[in-house]
């Protein structure tokens, strides 16, 4: 079968066997979602590709532990979250000890200046929230996962996830309300 037609079970079998075509298909299928989850967790697109590499190497290495092969997408997302969370903590530590500067402006991918500014401010606001709250907000409010699945992906209980989400939402909303450009976003508009 052409790799594009492989279902996840066949893809997993190919990845476990180390077939290059299956590895490439895995990357084609899930790089986009991994990239966005990583970028949003880190709050920046800077060096996202390096982290995504780490995500896929982990996925490839641990694919043989996947019991439910139909859950490949969730598996990739959960590895992406775990890797990004670790990277975020490493960066935070490096900033504390002065080995890494806080980026003066967050790199975004939007071409329009106004939109780019708006995206930057959203990331800045998300950056004010703790990493666990940000992960909860991203999974639920941006990626649109159901609460139960989002909690599983975040690696916590449903109750904890709901607490984190509620706190993150309140924080994020307060930050948005304090910024006229983001306030309009909450009301459904763009600048």
């Amino acid at each position: 079968l052409p790799t594009a037609e492989l279902d996840d079970a066949m893809l997993v079998a190919g990845v476990v066997a180390g077939r290059p075509a299956a590895l490439a298909a895995l990357f084609d299928r899930y790089a986009s979602v991994a990239r966005t989850v990583v970028a949003r967790t880190l709050g920046s697109w800077t060096d996202v590709d390096d982290v995504v590499q780490e995500v896929f190497l982990t996925v490839a290495k641990r694919c043989d532990t996947l019991r439910d092969v139909t859950a490949l997408r969730s598996f990739v997302v959960s590895v992406a979250i775990r890797t990004a969370r670790n990277e975020y903590r490493k960066r935070t530590v490096r900033r504390w000890v002065g080995l890494e500067a806080v980026p003066a402006s967050r790199a975004t991918r939007a071409h329009d200046d106004d939109v780019s500014e708006q995206v930057r401010r959203v990331y800045d606001a998300l950056g004010e929230i703790g990493v666990e709250g940000r992960i909860a907000f991203i999974l639920r409010r941006i990626e649109g996962y159901e609460l139960a699945e989002a909690a599983t992906l975040a690696g916590c209980s449903l109750a904890t996830f709901k607490r984190r989400l509620a706190r993150a939402e309140a924080q994020f909303e307060a930050l948005c309300r304090a910024d006229p450009m983001l306030c309009r976003l909450l009301e459904g508009g763009r600048s």
Partner: protein, 379 residues
């Protein structure tokens, strides 16, 4: 339902649409090259293990380990290998995907190897342990009188017998250490390394205290004996510990006497560990003993999820609909509505699937499952 964060979602999702094909192709090539290049390295340490450190039983099951598939693991639950000292850092891959790297000069052996974990007995020196977190994982490290209980994490553990001293440095996650004077155990999280010494040993400064970053846990702080709430244990991934506590108390007693928070924590621990019948019993106990509350409604939803996962879609749909009756404005209403449609559909009950779809569209005309609901009604 209007989500006040829809504007944010749209903004960030539009940003995602800016694709860079060339960068993607380059990144893919880099990944495929790295993944195929690293594959032999996964096998090589095992060969090394078989000739240097871990002979006997591990060597006998080398084919199993090289295969790397947990499902192919031979019954090696009692496997044990003699201790040996490593002349150079040695990497060991276990059937569950976890890895141990023994530092130069470390001595130890692995026993109780199963598809769900193993026990590392560390006689001397430092080991870096990387355990993959998943339900049912059963992993521990024994060092002298101490035992480090692992649920899925990466950490360094160092043991020296004279004077007796255990040092645990977490890289990710948490572990629980049991041993002399530690009662039910002391959780250790990411941060400064923690050093444990039995009180009988003479007080000594931590071996690497020149950095000033070590923390001695001798004698164990009073907080170490505090009984952490089960919800906290579950949040730290200590599912097995919660299950062990419940079993030690007697599951029937627990279900009959513990509060609803503990019962929900027990249900979570059981679900995450693959103990579905126990999870079901705990959720039913919440419903029976604490009816009408938010947790009872959540329990109803989770009972549906359990039945869904067990391939009982009709029962699952029944629970979801019961949740919708009991928690008209609960936080899981949208999920329960969508899941009810899918469950009835899987059960082959078209009239009920249609009714559930109509109900969903009345409540959430723009919800994430609206198009699927309309599809069912259009058939």
């Amino acid at each position: 339902v209007t989500d006040r964060f829809d504007g944010v979602k749209r903004l960030l999702r539009d940003e995602d649409a800016v694709a860079d094909r060339a960068r993607h192709v380059a990144a893919r090539a880099r990944f495929v090259e790295a993944a195929t290049a690293t594959r032999p390295q996964r096998v090589r340490p095992l060969a090394l293990v078989s000739v240097t450190v871990f002979c006997a039983a591990i060597a006998a099951s080398a084919a199993v380990l090289v295969g790397g598939r947990a499902t192919n693991v031979a019954p090696v639950a009692s496997a044990s290998v003699p201790s040996a000292s490593t002349s150079e850092p040695t990497r060991i891959s276990l059937p569950d995907g976890s890895t141990i790297v023994l530092a130069q000069g470390a001595r130890g052996h692995v026993r109780d190897v199963t598809a769900d974990g193993a026990t590392l007995v560390l006689d001397e020196g430092t080991a870096t342990v990387d355990v993959i977190h998943r339900p049912g994982v059963s992993w521990s490290v024994i060092a002298g009188p101490y035992r480090v209980w692992v649920t899925g994490t990466t950490f360094d553990v160092a043991w020296k017998a004279e004077p007796a001293q255990l040092r645990v440095a977490m890289k990710t996650g948490t572990v629980r250490v049991t041993g002399p004077e530690l009662g039910d155990g002391q959780p250790v999280g990411v941060g400064e390394p923690i050093t444990f010494s039995p009180t009988s040993a003479p007080p000594t400064a931590p071996p690497e205290s020149v950095s000033g970053r070590e923390t001695s846990a001798r004698p164990p702080p009073r907080e170490a004996h505090r009984e952490p709430p089960w919800t906290e244990l579950v949040d730290h991934g200590e599912h097995e510990l919660v299950l062990k506590k419940a079993e030690a108390m007697g599951v029937a007693d627990v279900l009959a006497t513990r509060g609803e928070a503990d019962l929900m924590a027990l249900a979570d621990a059981a679900r995450f560990s693959g103990r579905k019948p126990l999870a079901r019993d705990a959720l039913l106990a919440v419903r029976r003993r604490f009816p009408g509350g938010g947790r009872a409604a959540t329990a109803t939803f989770l009972l549906g999820k359990l039945d869904d996962e067990a391939g009982r879609p009709s029962d699952a749909a029944g629970w979801y609909e019961r949740y919708l009756d009991e928690a008209r404005s609960g936080p899981l209403v949208m999920e329960a509505s969508a899941r009810a449609i899918a469950a009835w559909k899987r059960a082959g009950d078209t009239p009920r699937a249609r009714a559930a779809a109509e109900s969903y569209l009345r409540r959430f005309p723009d919800g994430p499952s609206a198009s699927a609901a309309r599809e069912i009604l259009d058939r």
